[in-house]
Amino acid sequence: MAEEFASFYRDSRDNVFRAVVATVGSTAEAEEVVAEAYARAFANWSSVARHPKPEAWVVVAALNYQRSTWRKLRRLVPMGDHEPESLAAPDPSGPTVSAVYALPRRQRQAIALCVLLELDSEEAGEALGIAASTVRVHLHRGLETLRNRLDEGAQS
């Protein structure tokens, strides 16, 4: 079991990390939540290993953990101060990452799962709890916006 998990960890960790970074917008926060998600996968490996896409399980576990209460509760004090839809202050990782961060959350999630993790829209939809057709719409819009922004950046 330990060897099988170790192999899965080695093979998947970078893509999982990139998918989570694309969604949460901070490499430091992604490191924490991805580590926790892999720990949960290890603890539950007998069932996670049977998952059709264990790496998707880890990404979703990481994103769920990132949303956990005591992080969210901080936001209760400045009442009405909600999580921004897009991420305004990206880590310094280049224009493509910055352009992804500027997308709405659902579009970032669709790109994270379908492009960086290479899930199909059915698998991504199942992971996110939304319809595959909705994933395809967000993915299409996100990639279209990215293409335009990167083209604009290249021309200026």
Binding site: A2, Y9, R10, R13, D14, V16, F17, R18, V21, A22, T27, E31, V34, A35, E36, Y38, A39, R40, F42, A43, N44, S47, V48, R50, H51, W57, V60, A61, N64, R67, S68, T69, W70, R71, K72, L73, R74, R75, L76, V77, P78, M79, G80, H82, E83, S93, G94, P95, T96, V97, V100, I111, V115, L116, E126, A127, L143, L146, R147, L150
Partner: protein, 227 residues
């Protein structure tokens, strides 16, 4: 000519996850404890009894944070009992059989009923939550549609919508710089919340504690004036 997908992958390629395997597997102990607690949250009526049983033991243990003592406000059992019926017009029918957690503001004028469950399956973790806002007018609780709520109730609705609950957090304590302490504690299965006025706030420190009083996290909250 590269596709946009290739451009995205190349853009993220410099990012690598550097944690070694040992550091991951060593986290497992805490993770397993959280999973065990999470399991306690699964299920409708069992939820309240199980958390209550857990806390009755945990809260009597010596506190690592001697300053802190759980002092929840009195639960409004009538409201808890009637939350499903009150919320039936604004929530999907499939969540109504779940036992709600009811979050009540300290002035007992507004509340949030959280109907939900979470757990693990072979397909991964799952969670579903639906919430509705309750307000008390002339001594009577109602659950109006969101667009019919008064401003203050909308504020608490929006804030608590954004706050899921985590089984590790048993209490939240706010120590204001003016010496006032406000807190919420989980007891008898209910997470009693407080209301921070939308008026001027002097600033303070917010701490998140587990059932033994250990600080899980803290946050400095800046002063705020309404001008």
């Amino acid at each position: 000519m590269k596709s946009i997908e290739e451009v995205v992958r190349e853009g993220f390629e410099p990012l690598h996850f550097e944690s070694d395997l040992a550091s991951i597997t060593n986290r497992n102990q805490g993770s397993a404890r959280r999973r065990k607690l999470l399991a306690l949250l699964v299920g409708g009526v069992a939820l309240i009894g199980l958390i209550g049983a857990f806390l009755s033991g945990a809260l009597s243990a010596p506190s690592a944070e001697a300053m802190w003592a759980p002092v929840p406000s009195s639960p409004d059992q009538e409201l808890v009992a009637s939350a499903s019926a009150l919320c039936s017009a604004v929530l999907p029918a499939d969540v109504l059989p779940l036992a709600p957690l009811v979050l009540i503001d300290q002035r007992a004028g507004a509340a949030r009923a959280v109907f939900g469950e979470a757990g693990m399956t072979d397909q991964g973790s799952f969670q579903r939550f639906s919430t509705c806002t309750l307000i008390k007018t002339d001594g009577t609780w109602t659950a109006p549609a969101l667009d019919a709520l008064p401003f203050e109730a909308k504020t608490i609705a929006g804030a608590i919508d954004d706050a899921e609950y985590d089984v590790e957090v048993a209490a939240v304590v706010m120590d204001q710089v003016d010496g006032v302490r406000v807190q919420a504690a989980l007891a008898d299965g209910f997470f009693h919340f407080w209301w921070i006025s939308p008026d001027d706030f002097p600033g303070g420190t917010m701490r998140f504690l587990d059932a033994r009083g250990r600080v899980l996290d803290s946050a400095e909250v800046p002063a705020r004036t309404t001008g």
